[in-house]
């Protein structure tokens, strides 16, 4: 095919080398990502957090699932950027969101927050924390299924919601549940973001 490489000029070699290095880089990147070929592939590779993010971006996972994946290891700091993606996705599909609190304390212990036209009431009992969402009249037929809560420190909690009874959705959590303190702190903070979504 090529009989004499000495026919190639030094200038041409420089261009070939640069071009080859580029090809090499692209091939190395692709080769590194190839799943094992052949019949002996057995091992499941652990899921990269970015994989969940890609699914969420492609609409194959809900933002709530993304938040859950990001918070799976609570000792590890959550990536600021990943949280930004989760927020953007939540905002895209949220039926209502409350990015900054218009919290109005009714009593010293209870809180009321407005999420769009919906009203979230937080009732702090001695042994439990109750969330009551008054669903806006026009959404009673297709009520929210998920409440996503994102704090300023990137702590995030996603709560599945049950069907409303007489326009109200209730959610209770006992004081000894590990989630209790997190939820309480999140809901107290005025800069916590809340998203209601019909996606479950």
């Amino acid at each position: 095919m090529i009989d004499n490489l000495n026919d190639v000029s030094p200038e041409a070699w420089a261009a070939i080398e640069a071009d080859f290095a580029d090809d090499h880089a692209a091939r190395a990147l692709a080769a590194g990502a190839m799943p094992p070929a052949g019949e002996d592939m057995v091992e499941e590779t652990p899921e990269h957090p970015a994989t969940v993010m890609r699914r969420a971006l492609a609409g194959e996972a809900t933002p709530a699932q993304l938040l859950a994946a990001l918070n799976r290891d609570s000792s590890a700091p959550v990536s600021f950027g990943a949280m930004a993606i989760a927020r953007a996705l939540l905002a895209r599909q949220a039926m209502a969101s409350s990015l900054t609190a218009r919290a109005a304390s009714t009593t010293t212990r209870d809180l009321v927050r407005h999420i769009g036209d919906h009203v979230l009431q937080v009732i702090d009992e001695d042994d439990a924390l109750f969330l009551i969402i008054e669903v806006a009249a026009r959404d009673v037929e297709a009520p929210p299924r998920t409440l996503s809560i994102i704090g300023a420190t990137h702590d995030a909690v996603t709560l599945p919601l049950s069907a409303p009874v007489e326009g109200k959705i209730q959610f209770g959590i006992g004081r000894h549940d590990p989630l209790h303190q997190r939820l309480y702190a999140l809901l107290r903070a005025p800069d916590t973001e809340l998203y209601l979504s019909v996606e479950s």
Partner: protein, 495 residues
């Protein structure tokens, strides 16, 4: 594989791997996205980002686009399938930006005051993964900025001039991010040293020539510490040979005696300009590299020859996964393979053997014991390989005939003589079958030609009385067995 992989940081490989689904995304898509992220298109590293920026902008004005003021319209590019995006742009009646469909079924997006860009299905799929990569790479550290950038690309503010400037700035910002990423994650110098190893082999061992024996000779050369498998060596030598071959052609054109010959002059000028365009963005990862300026006069037709990816990303399925793989290997280095059919036959014939040995060593499970596996019992006899190529050729030909039947008879031909399956999630309601076949026709013809070229080369090579399919295969089986024994059996004895 180690030699090639160590070129990128582990984080980069992991960021990249997360873009793909092992079940549904093939090799062709991985290669295409890797090229878009690494070397760009048409010799311009930033070209894919221009294409991405224009795509986001045009999509926002298509039936699929989110209106200005809605939450994160820049994410539209990620929320729909490539086919839905392509169809939305095709059906867009918007004049600003204007999307038109060419005779070949490619889509061209034109934005006033900016370059135009043309797309096929496969480009849309590649760009979507590129956007995904930008958002998620480096633990999504660039995501806050990129989300804003995508949203602004979808709905920039101001008059026509301000819009063009805004898009330009945003695309440059994306190019800068990708540039920073490459700089951070590419381990410098590796590509150059791989090049040096090949060059050294060819000058000291290979007699300054590249032929059928070069990939094997290079693979087994003691100083080759970069490429661990025959397949990698084959691909590297083929890449190398194609570039050298191109350089020699340019030289031949440049020294063509009759300088007044208009054809020669035009060819020479075209080559000279492409050399310049290439050189502008070379020195890939050195400190001096800046993101490229506007693509300007760079031709807007890109990557039309990604045959396997074009078929894999089409909304209808014309080929099986194995056929697509074969098409990919054929189209990738058709010129090199046709000139070196024995080297090509070794590449395909012994590919599974190498993969299975590598996986076995990695995962410590053996369907066939290593001692037996190194004897290449799983290699594909060259006569079988020839049958596979002939069968593929027949299959592609029948698809070409389908395309012609559809062109002649329109939709009526579907189901009658033309049979195919839709890609998952697609149906006759969502896909214009006639238009899709028309889009695929150039790639089909190209794949047919490439397959015939390679298949014919194999036939001629093994028609020699001294080198039949059987004798050549048996000889190569011994050659590879000896090499695999040397490489792998001591490892197994020690473990």
């Amino acid at each position: 594989m180690l030699g090639v992989q160590s070129y990128w940081s582990d984080e980069a490989l992991s960021d990249f791997a997360a873009l793909f689904d092992d079940q549904t995304d093939g090799e062709a898509l991985r290669n295409s996205v890797a090229v878009a992220l690494t070397k760009g298109w048409s010799g311009n590293r930033d070209k894919p980002l221009w294409a991405l920026g224009l795509l986001i902008h045009a999509l926002a004005r298509s039936p699929l686009g989110s209106p200005a003021g809605s939450a994160h319209p820049g994410f539209d590019i990620l929320s729909h399938t490539p086919n839905a995006i392509f169809e939305a742009l095709r059906s867009s009646t918007c004049v600003d930006p204007q999307a038109t469909t060419s005779a070949k079924g490619r889509l061209t997006v034109r934005i006033p005051g900016l370059d135009q860009q043309s797309y096929g299905h496969n480009n849309v799929a590649t760009l979507q993964r590129t956007a995904n990569f930008l958002l998620m790479c480096d633990n999504a550290v660039y995501a806050p900025e990129i989300i804003k950038t995508f949203d602004r690309l979808a709905h920039p503010e101001g008059d026509e001039r301000a819009v063009a400037q805004s898009i330009r700035n945003d695309i440059k910002a994306l190019a800068r991010i990708l540039y920073d990423y490459r700089k951070k994650h590419i381990l410098d110098g590796h590509g150059a040293s791989a090049f040096s190893v090949i060059k050294k082999y060819l000058h000291t061992q290979g007699g300054g020539r590249i032929d059928d024996e070069t990939p094997f000779g290079f693979w087994t050369w003691e100083d080759n510490d970069k490429y661990k498998s025959y397949g990698e060596s084959y691909v590297a030598i083929a890449d190398f040979a194609e570039k050298v071959s191109l350089a020699l052609q340019r030289r031949a054109i440049a020294s063509a005696a009759d300088i007044d010959d208009a054809v020669v002059r035009a060819a020479r000028d075209a080559d000279a300009s492409s050399v310049v365009a290439g050189n502008d963005n070379e020195h890939p990862h050195g400190d001096g590299e800046e993101p490229d300026a506007d693509p300007g006069a760079v031709p807007d037709e890109v990557d039309e020859d990604e045959g396997a990816l074009t078929f894999a990303e089409a909304p209808i399925l014309l080929f099986s996964i194995n056929e697509l793989k074969l098409i990919g290997w054929i189209c990738e280095h058709v010129a090199f393979g046709a000139r070196n059919p024995r080297a090509f036959a070794r590449h395909l014939g012994f590919r599974d053997v190498q993969n299975n040995i590598s996986n076995g060593l990695k995962f410590k499970t053996w369907k066939i014991p290593l001692e037996e596996r190194v004897t290449c019992v799983e290699a594909i006899p060259y006569a079988d390989l020839q049958r596979d190529l002939d069968a593929l050729e027949a299959q592609i030909l029948s698809r070409v005939e389908d395309a012609l039947a559809l062109r002649r008879n329109g939709e009526d031909a579907v189901g009658d003589s033309v049979r195919f399956r839709f890609r998952k999630g697609q149906s006759r309601d969502s896909v214009d079958v006639v238009a899709t076949f028309a889009q695929l026709e150039p790639a089909l013809l190209r794949a047919l030609e490439d397959t015939r070229t390679l298949s014919g080369a194999l036939k001629r090579r093994f028609a020699r009385p001294t080198d039949t399919y059987t004798t050549a295969f048996e000889a190569d089986q011994q050659l590879f067995t000896a090499e695999y024994r040397r490489r792998y059996l001591p490892v197994s004895a020690a473990s």
